[in-house]
Amino acid sequence: MQVYTKPKSIKENSSFTFCSGCDHGLVIKLVAEVIDELNLQENTIAVASSGCSVFLYDFLDVDCIESPHGRACAVATGIKRATKANKNEKFVFTYQGDGDFASIGLGESLHSALRGENITVICINNTNYGMTGGQLGPTTAMGQITTTSPTGRNRAYHGFPIKAAEHIALCDGTAYSARVGVYNIKNIINAKNAIKKAFECQIKGLGYSFVEVLSSCPTNWRLSPSDSHRKIETELTQIYPIKVFKDITND
């Protein structure tokens, strides 16, 4: 008896082009599994952003659109409102990196949450700009060495990192905001449940739902995939706690 197989929503014969050990593949797999479980494949429009996350449309077998850098939430807003106005409402989610969501597109992201747009956002937080060579990003931890902070992030020059899930949870239009990790099996299962809950919030029409995934970037962190997961477990979760910050379905 087959107890595990490739999700249907992943394209046949597709092979991820991410670096070895990158968590992007794992998260896309979880998204595909949730799309399968909720039977959303034929009714979904995914919005890809710029950065490593853009490759989503190469692997996910749903309708996808590419947005300008940082503007995924704005594009998703337009799609959601237009399809709703045409009485053919689609399930719309964005898949963004932390630089795209929380720095370049912070205005679009935050105001989508404040307006309570009925979309789902998945943000991959790997604490740097991975695709362009590991530069300092909005979520780079204090003291973390990147190619543009060779002595480590410091308060006087770079300021403090942004905690996206906490900020989004403060917005009144947010239905669900959580931070999850995929660094061990327990957290992979919790991450999938969080993504499923965020998707269900949109299906029920409750408002903006947001999942931040703490993810590794072994290439730019100069660590092995296993050590990257250990770093997330021991260091990053101290700065970015794994938690559900807002869930109106529990209120």
Binding site: Y4, T5, G21
Partner: protein, 70 residues
């Protein structure tokens, strides 16, 4: 007998599956993969695999997709 299948053409030698296997049935092979490093292989001569699916869940490249339990 439970077993898994590994797609050699997709394995990128991250070795995350080696870390999670509770029975230590996944090991580095002598074959090199697309990254130029040794890919992994599954060997279970004593039928120890319990089809826990952890290797498939942790694989970021969908190289381990078929897990069979019998």
């Amino acid at each position: 007998m439970s077993y898994i299948t590994i797609d050699d053409s997709k394995c990128k030698s991250c070795y995350l599956c080696i870390d999670v296997c509770p029975k230590n049935l996944i090991k580095k092979s002598t074959h090199t993969g697309k990254t130029g490093e040794c890919i992994v292989e599954f060997s279970d001569s004593n039928n120890q695999c319990i089809a826990c699916k952890q290797c498939a869940m942790v694989c970021p490249d969908i190289a381990i997709t078929n897990v069979y339990k019998e």
